[in-house]
Amino acid sequence: MISLFLPGAILISVLLYFNKSKIVNYTLVVFYALFLLTFAVYQSFHLNSIELGYFKSDGLGILLLLTLSAATIPALFHGYRYIATHDESKKSRGLFFAAMTMLITAIGAAYLSNHIAVTWIFVEITTLCASVLIYHHRTTAALEGVWKYVFICAISITFVFIGILFLSLSLKQAGVEDLSFDALEKNYAQLNPFWLKFAFLFIFTGFTAKLGLVPMYTAGIDAKDKAPAPAGALFSSVLMNLGFVGIYRFYAIVARTEILPWANTIILIAAFLSIFVATVYMTRIKNIKRMFAYSSIEHMGLVMLGLAAGGIGVYAAILHIVLHSFVKPSLFFQFNQVYRVYQSKSIYDVGNYFKYNKAGAIALLLGFISCTAMPPSGLFVSEFMIFQSLFESHHLIILFVVLLLLTMIIWGFGSNIFKLLFTPPISIDETKIPKISAWESASQYILLAIAVYLAYNPPAQFVHLTKDAVNLLPQ
């Protein structure tokens, strides 16, 4: 059905760009959300079917595609609220929704891609759409954000391409010219380990720009800060998952060769440094939106720790990435309303949020509990399994230090969130505060509840898909 979905989605996106009528615009957005959902459900009934030669709906792809469509519906709704409260011109509204739909489409297609070059192309397209969204407000700060994002993403995408070139060098002696993941998996024994190391290094470094790990994480932070919150929610959840898909699919091939221990060391170092960097910033950060962005860096670090530790860690990594895609967007969506109350992102200007928006404040509190993986948060289950896998693979020092760093992150995160929720702000003009309907927080509650439900009482189909994704690695 992807041959129907891609042209359809592109058509919707083009229509959104050119259309000026409000009703037609929103009808198209609703239609797109339904279209994506139908597509994801349809693909999930056709597991492991190959389409157009380059797309394969395997467990990992379907799982993340379903997550994507679940995150898209509230993202588009909050996008609508964002546009409605900002007095946007018709043109910028059209461009915003066109870029959103195009971004989501490219992410979805990249999830299902079974060819490393096709994944690469769709990752390029996500950079393009994301830069439109970051530059939505046309300010100097947004310009700086988009410049850094575009430049770093362009360099990372070049790195991935260099990695693909090294991969083709490593394939030369095997005489294979097909770069699809299936073909690579079949011929893993003939890959030249020397070039494969180079390829892994470059592809991993390149995809860290999307995944948000050291060394290329910097651009993503500015992007999430400057983009409108609904877009930021997508950047720090489903777009990061795209980086994970890129690395995981290639890792699945590397895992069959002799360089696996070496690759695991690289991943461990990058993951550990990411958690460290996230801790350093989380404990002293004063910008709420950037704090959420750094929290994503921390979670991706944990995911990669689980992947490198192996065993149950791989299952936990995939569970974690799915649950994180429900938890983090809900915080970003709620931030949008926080900003409407205080007109500021700085922690110094906010406070006493419980007084101004009760439903939103509870959503924020629950989001904080979920995000720091305190029980009954869903992330608690996956983080616990990641720590278990670290323990079983005898990475005791890393485990100990990471636990220490996570405690510091909880402290930093908590002190900011509690300041926002309970401490009265220094100066605030209460007459200017808009009334915010409790309904706008409904989607956050639903997303957080889904994360808890999936972690503690996973449906059989969900477990099946996750196991299918885990089975991409050699058992």
Partner: protein
């Protein structure tokens, strides 16, 4: 013959390290575009004609003409001063780039792989690192863009090394060129010029923690 062109390419890197004016950088980029045209013409003999013509057109029209003309227009339009303003003296740059080339030669000699064409590998890798070096030691945003274009040229050379077996990869490389250059230069540099009067990296240092 290919080797001669590639060695000339490596020499342009040395020239780039001591170039003082932005115009010189642009001229070097034009020259590199023509050199790549020559290498492509000589090297990719096994792929079909349409594809070859496409690749050759990309090197000449895009790398050697369109991008440099556009860079020139951007410099004039935004009234950017003509000096490159490196952080380090040119002499140091020259030594560092020479070192980069020497190290890549030593590195490639340690690799024992018969499938590897060493000249391609050395030139591609040293171009890559030179590009990164230029990005990190020049002050203006436009020189960052030029550094990125140098990196792209390096990647293009590397893709030519495997081009006969997998022409698809060369095409992908071209896609990368066009996509990234158009995104970075076209849509974007115009905006920076309009918003900031003096395009200097130091003005883009407000987003931080």
């Amino acid at each position: 013959m290919t080797d001669i062109l590639l060695i000339m390419f490596a020499m342009t890197l040395l020239y780039m390290s001591i170039a003082n004016r932005l115009l010189t950088y642009i001229r070097i980029l034009v020259f590199q575009g023509f050199l790549l045209f020559g290498v492509t013409f000589l090297e990719l003999s096994h792929i079909n004609v349409t594809n070859l013509v496409l690749i050759l057109l990309e090197t000449v029209v895009f790398k050697a003409l369109a991008v440099p003309l556009f860079l020139n227009r951007v410099i004039k339009h935004n009234g950017i001063t003509r000096v490159a303003e490196p952080f380090l003296p040119n002499f140091v740059s020259l030594i560092i780039i020479t070192l980069i080339i020497v190290i890549t030669i030593v590195l490639s000699n340690s690799i024992k792989d018969i499938n590897l064409d060493k000249t391609f590998f050395v030139v591609a890798l040293s171009t890559l690192f030179t590009g990164l070096y230029i990005i990190s030691t020049r002050r203006k945003i436009i020189t960052h863009v030029m550094g990125y274009l140098v990196i792209e040229n390096g990647v293009f050379i590397l893709s030519l090394a495997v081009g006969n077996e997998m022409p698809m990869l060369v095409n992908l490389g071209i896609m990368l060129d066009i996509f990234a250059s158009v995104l970075i230069l076209g849509v974007f540099f115009n905006k920076i010029g309009d918003v900031l009067n003096d395009p200097d990296v130091n003005q883009l240092r407000n987003l931080k923690d």
